[in-house]
Structure formats: C-alpha cells, structure tokens
Symmetry: C3
Subunit: 436 residues, 3 copies
C-alpha cells in the first residue's frame, strides 16, 4: 500500500518482482487450464433451447440460474465484504485484511473452479460450469478466508497465495471424500468449510508461531470506526447466512427449510452471546469482539443440519448453545491457546468456526440418525439424504455414523494439511511478514 | 461495550446480572414456545413432494421461497443494516445504535414469529412457518426499530427488550384488527408499521421525558465519518424499499407494481428534500440530516398503496409531497415538539415515519376508494382487494372507509400502547440509561 | 451541507433559490410528463391475469419480475452505493460524492424512464414500464455517474443536474442508434454505458479545465478511513457486476452465461492489477487507488460479450489484459492527460471506463464475428443475436462490422455531446463550484 500507515500491506523492496511474478504466472496457468478444461454447463450454454426440450422443461425460469443466483450473490457478499470487513476490527490490519482477502479470494475461486470441477463436474474431458459451481468456488474460498483469520499479520501476500493454492486443493480432496465416498450431507459446510478451514488455519498459525508478536499487542486494539466497519462485516455475514446454508440445497423445500433453520439459530445466538458477554466482563459491559464474532456461531453450527428437518426449535437450541460456547471461548480459551499451546489465533477463529463447526458436524450426525420416514414422508426421506442407487439401503443410523466419520476425516485432513502447508510456508523463499 | 467511548452501551455494575438473566430466560422461553408451537409450513417441510402434487404444481420453482426470498433478504438488510446504520448519524450513539438495534431485532423476530403465527398461521395447534413469516417478523421488528429511533439514548438495554416484548405484542394485535377484522390492505405497512411504530415511540419518549437531556445536546452532533456511515443506512433503506413494499404482495403483477410505484415515489422524494433542505437553511447549504432521512419518506408514504394501481405519476406526486413535509418537519416541527410538547424525538421519526405513515394511510384509502373494474379488470379487481367470501360485496368506497378506519385504529393502539409501555418502562426495576 | 468540512456541497448564498427552483420545476415537469405518458406494462398491470392467459403462461413465476428483480436490486446498489462510495477515496469529496451522486441519479432515472420509454416501450401513446425499464434507467444513469467521476469537484449541483438532463437525452439517442438502427448487442453496456459515458465526461472536463485546480492537489489525498469507505464501493461494484452484465440479457442461458463470464473476467483482473500495481510502484508497494479501481476493469470489458459464447477462458484473457491496461493507465496516462492535454480526470475514469469500454466493444465485435452455428446451436445462434425478421440473413461477420460501427458511433456521440454540454456548463448562469 502506498501510505505507511496501511500496515497490512507490504513494502519489501525484494517483493517488487516476486508478487507480480507469482500473480502473472498463476493467472497464465489459470488461462491455460481453463482453456483446456472449462466450458459452459448445459444451462449456461447457447444449446439450452435443445437442453430444455430434452429435460422436458416448459419455461426458462426452470434454469438453475433462477433457483440459485440470488443466494449466490449473497454468498459472494459474505466472502468479499463479510469476511473482509469482519477482520477490520483489528485496527492495525484494517485495509490489509480487506485487500488481501480480496486478492486471495479472487485467485482462490479460479483454482477452486478447476479443482472442484475435476471432482464433481467433469464430463467427456471438460469441466461444465454453472451457477452452482460459482457458489461452490466461493464456499471453498470461504475456508481459506477462515484460515486467513488465524494468521492475519503473520504472512506476506506471497505466503497467502501459496497457502490458498494448497488449501483449495486439500479442500477439494476432503470435500470429495466426504460428499462422494462417505456420501455425507453438508450443504452449509459445517465440516468441509468451517471445521476443515479453522483447524487447518490453527495448525498453520501454530507452526508459524512467533513469540515476539505478542509485543505488538497494543496494535491489535480496535477503535471506534474500526468497530463500525467490522459491524458491516458481521451484519452481512449474519443476514446472509441463511443464503449460505441454503445455496446448494436441493430445489424446493430443502432450500426453504435451510433458510428458516439458519434464521432461527442465528437469532437465538445473538441473545446468548449478549448474555454471556455481559456476564463474563468486568462491570457487565458488553465486549465488541463478542458481538462482532460470536453472534455468527449459530450460522456455522447448523451448516450441516439446516437442510434437514432440524425444526425451528431445534435451531434455537443449537444457536443458544453456540452463542455461549463461542463467547466463553473468546474469554477463556483464546488466551489459553496462545499462552500454553503457542497458537496465536488473531481473529479468534477457534471460537467462531472451529468449535461451532464441530458442533455443527455433530448436530448433523444426530439429526440424520434421528430421521424417520414419518417425519420426512417416504419421498422426502429418500430425497433429503439421496438414498438412491448404491445408497438405497442405507439407514438413518448408518448415515449418522458416516456423518460422524466425516467430522473425523475433516479434522485429520486439517491437521495433516495444515502441518504440511505450515512447513512449506516456513521456507525462506516466500518473503517475510516482518517487513510489514 | 468494553471501551469507554462507546457511550451507547452500558457500564452499570448492577446490570451485570440483569441483562444476562433477561436474555437467557427469554431465550429459554422462546425455545419452549417454539418447541410446543412452531413447525415448518407445507412449502418448507420434507413432505413438499406430496404437497406439490396436491397443489397441482409442476415445478419446484413455484415454491413460495422463489417468489419472496430475494425480497426477504433485502428487507433483512433494511432492518439490521439500514435502521442500525441510519442512527449512527448521531455520533454519540454510533455503536450503541447498531449494537442495540441488533439485540432488539434478534429478540423481536422470535417473539414476532410466535405472535403473528398465532394470529395468521395457526393450524391444528401448530404455527406453520415459511418465508412469508420471516418477512412479517422482520416487518414487525421494523416498527420497534422505528420507535427505538425516538428513545435512542434514553433507555437501558433491558428497557429496550421490555419495550420490544410489548410492542411486538401490540403490533400483532393491531395488525390482526386491520388485516383480518377490517379487511384492510397494507402490504408495505404505512399504517401497521410506520404510523403505529412512530406514534408508539413518540408516546413512550414523551413519558420518559428528561429535561436535562438537552444539556448534552452537543454530544448529539454528527461528524464526517458518522455521516458516511449513516449514508450506508440511508442508501440501503432507499434502494431496498421497493422490496419492502412488494415483499408480501400477491404473486405476479402486485409485487411487480409495488416495486415500480415505490421506485418512483422515492426518486421524486429525493428532489423535493434537496430543494427544501437548501431553501430552508441559512445560505442555501444542504443539511445532512435531511438527506439522510427525508429522502426515505416517499417509501413510507406508498406503503399502503404501492401494490394498488397508484400509477407511476401518482407515486411521483406522493413522493413530491412527502419530501417537502418531512424536511419542513425537521426544520420546524421537531424543535417545536421538544420545546412545547416535551417530546424528545432523537432521530426525528415524526418526520420520517409518523407523518409520511399517516399520508400513506390516507393515500391508500383514496386509491382504494377510487378503484374501478375498468382500471383493474374484473379478475384483477377482485384479486387486488381480495373481495372474496365474506367481502364479495364490498365496494371500493366502503373499502376506502375501512382503510381510513385502519389509520384511526393504528393511532389509538399506538397512543394507548405507548402510554402503557412508557409507564412500565418508568418502573425503577429496569435500570437506568443515565449510567450510559 | 451544514458543516463547513463537507466541502463537496455548496454554501453559495446565491444558490439558495436556484437549486430549489431547479429541483422543484423539474420534478413538476416529471409529474406532468409521467401523467401524460407513463403507465404500467402488462406484467405490472392489474390486468395481468388476462395477459397471462393470452401469453399461455401457467404460473405467476413467469412474470418478468422474477427473472430480473434480483439483478435489478444488485444494479441499484451499484449505482447508488457502488459509484457513490467508490468516489469517497478522495477525502475532500467524500460526502459530496455520495450526496450528489444520490441527487443526480434520483433525477436521472426519472428522465431516463421517459427518454428510453419513448424509444423502446412506446405503445398507443403510452410508455409501458416494467422491471426491465427500471434496470435500463439505472444503466442510463450509470453513464452519468461515470462522467461525474471526471468532473468531481469542478461543478455546482445545478451544473450536475443540467449535465444529467443532457447526458441522459444523448444516451437514449445513442442507445437507440446502436440497438435499433445498427441492431447491435450490448447487454452490459461496454459501448452505450462505459465508452459513451467516459468519453463524454472526459470531453466535458477538458472544456471545464481550470489550471489552478492543481494547487489544491493535496486535498485530493486519501486517508485510511476514506480507503475503507471506497473499498465498500469497489467491492459492491465488483461483486454485483455479474448481475449488471446479465440483468437485461435474454431469459435462461444468456443471463446464466453472462454472469459466469463476468465472474471469471473480474477474478483474473484482480491478479493482474495487483501484479502491475506492485511492479510499477517504488519499493513494490501496492497502490490503493489501483486496487479500488483497476480491479473493476474486467467487468467493463466483457459488457458487450458476456452474454455471448465468450467462454470462461476467453473471459479470463479479457480480465487479464484489462487489469494491466487500467493499472498502467493510472500510473502513466492520467498524469499525461492532465499535463499535456489538460484533461483533469479526477477519479481516473479513462482507466476504469474509457479504455476498458473500448476493449469491451472490440471484444464484442470479435466474439460476434466469430460466432458459428456449431458453437451456438441452430436455435441458440438465432436467439443470441436476434437474427429474426429484417435481420434474418445477417451473418456473424456482418454483425461484427455493425458492432464495430457501434463503437465509433458511441465515441462520436460522446465527443460531440460532451463538447456541447461542456460549452453549456460554461455559461455563467449555473453558479460556480469555486464557491465550494
């Protein structure tokens, strides 16, 4: 950044050629790979008129675009404005947070379109993309934004791009294992996005531990206007989370239900966050950081189960618990992680994404295991869990077991991947955030 | 709030246990009531496949979710970002406005889902919720946000929550009288939301009158950045108001028409606001507060009639008048209300919601009374005013009379309810904003 | 504005009566013209039930409202928040930019509804409006917002309104020539909005050249919070640009495709902007102004071709090039234009809109010329370019030629119109921005 007070961005002379080179080379690689692999899916291709006849659709309104585009735009706002501005509560990193989030997300979505495309939309040698691919790419990058929250202030832009490259790759692999091999449901990504992203980031920040970072703690303070900017991030995440959890659910009742469950969970979460924030602080004052972060935990924690028949009161209970867990985490666990385990969690993602993500995975497993044909209806039951083909005979309790296995796989991928990527980021070639 | 300069939030030691207790107890009550009463409506339930067949729908796209979800999200942004940030124009209350608005709205929507559900969506002992319920809950809370604008700086968080509880209850009763007993149309809520909410809040602030509050008037000034934050609130309210007024209109032409009428009214309102702001100020300078508030009056004033055949030029006329009325109100009426009637209207809701809401009710009554089968078409006429069943024989002029009665009922409910709730808030048990 | 530090708004005593008079007279004129000409289109009229039968539509969801309203709202946000806040990066003009943008856009959309209505929606003596008209009015005003970016700080509010009146008029004429006479495709407006708007504004600013304006250059600096406000503008433009380019495309695949192409182009543009910004600055620092502006060039440059079969990799290539062109323009061309050609381009619209707009026109011409029935399918080919009726026999290469002609016409209209309007604005009757 041009002005010295924008501390978040780098003024390393050595960087002068490295960041441009990496950006240009990678973008050229994207162009080549997109040229070889990526084409329009049938609903975005000019052959759509023929496709429509084949699919027996009578109206253009049945194009998937109209089912998902409004949700896509909400998710898009969450990734670029939501995550970007949420991190401005740390005054020192204000612009850097927004700017680097912009850079890593713009790069990440391209690589995610390829990685997820190879796994899920690969037909006759081509990746066929539509609006659902755009949403999934945003989701994938969301997990990188989460991990960024743990290492904010400790990495150079190049290191961020390297982390993005690896994390998107590992995300796609993990997602493939969960959704395709384990046949697990996770539409809002409690496991694939939040649990994976958060524990990945926490492992990386542990490896990049720098004892002297504590000395600059005073720079981590927030100020009045930073708090209002951060509230923009918070509120957009909070308001649009129902779109996030419903964006890639099945058409019809599943999208509808996911939005309602998420709305309820988030509402409850605000009240318990306020309650515990007030209770745990000296003199009963509310802590801004809790309001900016813990109020969102309710959205994370219904990420797996929102499209299921969790019911509104079930959602309220989940939100109730997560507001408490997350706020208590900020007060007691974050300092403990830093002082004892040397995990410097800049934005407190352990409280906002890691723990609520785990809870979300568990709630999903329980909700799936408790499913009955009575509650879902015969057709609804099969549709909700996609119990067709190979999975025709899977029972709810077995599904619950696989859901639980999905949590474990996500955790293992996060720890192993985070350790690997952390080690790579320690290589001296990437430049140093100390110059920041 | 943690830092002393966030004056909007409270540092009362006595509060330490009261706010947490109220939040937790009320949230537990919500969970119990939701557990007993709230279930998914047919379009959000997993039995939707069967429902679809019964309703003779051929595509998932005909689920109400796709008709209303984009508008719901716009309304959601208006309630949480729009109302929250609009109030930041008062520097002293910046964060408090956003934070407390968040708290009361999150609590209010839950209670509104129940109250409105009992009145409108109660079937076989259960409240069946869908996306329209979420919009209505947001609407209901909107009226609380409006009232909050009058008492900003004069209440503790607990008092706000108590007011929310009572106001939501009274809102639901008033809405039931208007929509069900009087069979009145009010899709954008000129009467139910704005007239009721504003006069309710003004009555409460009259009762809570504190002479010495004037002394701190210098703290009510706005500053440069506050003005830009407030403009975020203003613009999101202004841009999304067409969604607000069309969100719960009938599918098809009514939603379409409501959006167009509102768009026109708001555009006209900007020009007359600028004109009168410049004309009434010394030296022709524009006053920020007018631009931030009076430009929105055009949206309020077509709240009842937007879905009717008001026509674009009719909308321009309404917007034209309201920009003038609202700006003149800020210049002459607000100081008069405070000095003579002891009504301290912190954000000037009398100018933005009360008067335009009344105008909106009157415009609605006139537009309904002037309706003809020629203008609406035979089918359109019946559909627009729901002249079916018991109301089959109601004529436009009778409908106009009932619409007018709706204004009177809303006013009476607001005055009586506001007096009651104001008296309750004066009880010494709730803590005191003086500590703020 | 009331407080002296809001330099963007005027405190000219002479203004006291002029601005109000202009606003009120023009609004009255709008009311009269709307009263004579504007009515609801068939999909917003209460006769819709009959219309539906005639058009053989089975569901209300096939009302154009549901195809376009979410995109409309995104475009609306781009015009009022996006363009308004983007300009706040110049600290001196922060509030003035947002406030005047609000004023000119609110006036402009009314006049645009009339002008575009007479050209495109005029039936039996009436302009029939629907949601597509609202989008087109916003688009038209977008070109005024672009031109405003060149003259920011050099005009009084009255001059802005006069410019808006003339520019909207010329925009509608130019658009009519391109879309109707030349039968050119330009759904995202690379030619009609960006090329026309930018060169129009640059011509006006050349004519209004004031040498001493350079002295106040220090006031043009940006500061930390201004940068964060500007990023709000940038990000909303960047995120919603896929909606902008797809908003008025044909239903179905064309809207879907336009969104995907724009998403890809914008993502690539971010990386090359960051690369060249870092490369061209001393010490490899990133320049905020580049990130706030050049990252958007990719959206401008696929404005014509996004709805065509540009393909995702084609979009990446366009974005790749435009990020470079735009950033290089900010570094080398803007200073050159000011010092040698006396074109003071306050916000750098030559880099963000003019050059990328030209590139967009050229890319559109090439993409159209390269179209084949093989790529589009027989039906898709005819639908994509509307090769029906008179244009039944037009070939892709001929279409490419007409597209190229569209660029030339837009440029000529911009230069001639800009010169005319610039001369009009120099008349002494309009008041002077020097008083600001």
């Amino acid at each position: 950044m041009e002005r010295p007070r924008h501390q978040g961005m780098t003024k390393n002379t050595y960087m002068r050629w490295r960041l441009p080179l990496v950006c240009l080379l990678w973008e050229v690689a994207m162009i080549v790979l997109f040229g070889v692999f990526v084409r329009f899916g049938p609903e975005a291709d000019a052959h759509w008129e023929e496709e429509k006849r084949e699919m027996n659709l009578t109206s253009d309104i049945e194009n998937d675009f109209y089912f998902r585009y409004p949700s896509f735009q909400d998710v898009h706002v969450m990734i670029f404005v939501g995550f970007g501005f949420l991190m401005t509560f740390l005054k020192r990193y204000g612009f850097g947070a927004v700017g680097f989030n912009f850079l890593l997300a713009a790069f990440g979505i391209q690589w995610a379109l390829l990685m997820q495309g190879w796994f899920h939309s690969f037909k006759s040698g081509k990746i066929l993309v539509g609006v659902e691919n755009l949403i999934n790419a945003d989701f994938c990058v969301g997990s990188v934004c989460i991990a960024f929250g743990a290492i904010l202030g400790k990495t150079s832009p190049i290191q961020l791009l390297v982390m993005t490259l690896f994390q998107v790759t590992l995300f796609a692999v993990n997602e493939y294992i969960l959704l395709n091999l384990l046949h697990v449901k996770d539409a809002g990504g409690s496991m694939t996005i939040h649990t994976f992203g958060a524990y990945f980031g926490l492992t990386v920040t542990r490896i990049l531990y720098r004892p002297n970072l504590e000395q600059s703690k005073d720079k981590q303070g927030s100020v009045y206007h930073s708090d209002l900017f951060a509230m923009i991030g918070t509120l957009y995440l909070w308001m649009y989370w129902p779109s996030f959890n419903s964006a890639i659910s099945e058409h019809g009742d599943a999208q509808h239900r996911a939005a309602i469950n998420t709305y309820c969970s988030l509402a409850a979460c605000v009240l318990t966050t306020m309650a515990f924030s007030s209770m745990l602080q000296k003199k009963g004052k509310l802590d801004m950081v809790h309001i900016q972060n813990a109020t969102l935990a309710g959205g994370v924690a219904v990420g797996t189960s929102a499209e299921m028949m969790l019911t509104p009161y079930g959602s309220l209970i989940v939100g109730f618990i997560c507001g408490i867990v997350s706020t208590v985490g900020y007060v007691y666990l974050t300092p403990f992680l830093e002082s004892r385990l040397h995990i410097q969690d800049t934005c407190g993602i352990h409280n906002l994404h890691a723990m609520p993500g785990l809870i979300g995975g568990i709630v999903g497993a329980i909700t799936a295991a408790a499913a009955t044909e009575d509650v879902y209806g015969k057709e609804g039951f099969i549709k909700a869990f996609d119990f067709t083909g190979t999975y025709q005979t899977r029972t709810p309790s077995v599904q619950g077991g696989f859901q639980a296995a999905g949590i474990v796989v996500s955790l293992l991928m996060a720890f192993a991947g985070g350790a690997l990527v952390g080690a790579i980021l320690k290589l001296p070639v990437w430049g140093d955030a100390a110059a920041e």
